[in-house]
């Protein structure tokens, strides 16, 4: 036997799958609109507007209908502050994950809000989209949302 030095060995271990996924017609249209700096949802048979769009109406299970462009501003319905962003987060500094119901939409979309400080966040606050200059047809074309009329 030999002495155990006490320190355990550790090593980094990365598991990565480089998936490429097909969008289907509904999400494809949504992403194509984001590339044009527009936000599109779909209207259901019952008249609700779903943003982001779904292929099927969760109320009736029927296919959803026509695409509807909605506003670029909306209301935060709930949020959670990220004080220490990690490598793949959309912003490198502290931000909020928020559910945002855009003007003209009946559902809320998850995205980041760059509010600067958790004290600036509140449910019901209005936020507006900040777009990337170079857009490729990705949810990240929407860089984040920012408080409406705010300094940021």
């Amino acid at each position: 036997m030999h002495a155990d030095s006490g320190d355990l060995l550790t090593a980094p271990y990365v598991l990565e799958y480089t998936y490429q996924r097909s969008t289907g017609p509904v999400i494809g249209r949504f992403l194509t609109a984001l590339r044009d700096a527009r936000i599109e949802g779909v209207r259901t048979a019952g008249g609700r507007v779903l943003v982001p769009p779904l292929e099927y109406d969760p109320d009736s299970s029927e296919p959803t209908g026509e695409a509807v462009e909605v506003g670029q501003s909306g209301v935060v319905t709930t949020w959670s502050w990220v004080g220490a962003p990690r490598r793949f987060h959309p912003l490198a500094h502290p931000f909020a994950w928020a559910l945002i119901r855009l003007d003209g939409a009946d559902t809320a979309m998850l995205h980041a809000v760059d509010a600067g400080d958790a004290a600036a966040m509140r449910t019901g606050m209005r936020v507006t989209a900040r777009w990337r200059a170079e857009r490729i047809g990705s949810i990240r074309d929407l860089e984040c949302f920012v408080p409406e009329g705010g300094a940021r």
């Binding site: 036997m1 030999h2 155990d4 030095s5 320190d7 355990l8 060995l9 550790t10 090593a11 980094p12 271990y13 990365v14 598991l15 990565e16 799958y17 480089t18 998936y19 490429q20 996924r21 097909s22 969008t23 494809g28 249209r29 992403l31 194509t32 590339r35 044009d36 490598r87 793949f88 047809g137 990705s138």
Partner: protein, 166 residues
Amino acid sequence: MSDDPRPPVTLFQAPIRLDYTVTAGRNLTRYLRALAQRRIIGGRCPECQKVYLPPRGSCPTCGVPTDTEVQIADRGTVTTFCVINIPFEAAPFPPPYAAVAIVLDGADQPILHLLRGIPPDEVRMGMRVQAVWVPDHELAPTLASIRWFEPTGEPDAPFEAIKDHL
């Protein structure tokens, strides 16, 4: 609508990436540190007497700690093998080459490693092989401290010698 000349979006990249930090634990740490000293150690079960390589700290059959550390030889017997004929990004050599399962003398579990020094189409079950270690300055706590195995030239072991390790 859009003036964008690019075609509509139909695909997107969705990589899934998991960044782990693996902690070896006491037994694997000793095993890996021994490799950096050109030594191979296993763990013997006090009940069934099987020697686990690498040592895991307990016997999954008997459910007891493998509290006895044993020295394992750096030579052994090929149990099974695979000749790789297709190149891929992480391949260690241009194909063809042989990946082999080797039960080292003194161990009851085969390890996986590479076999060189023989044309791949001549690799056999039962072939006796010897570790080729890296130079001293490349020794590290990893099984890669053994660069590959090569045939010893001894007569092949009989099937009886490997039948319980397949």
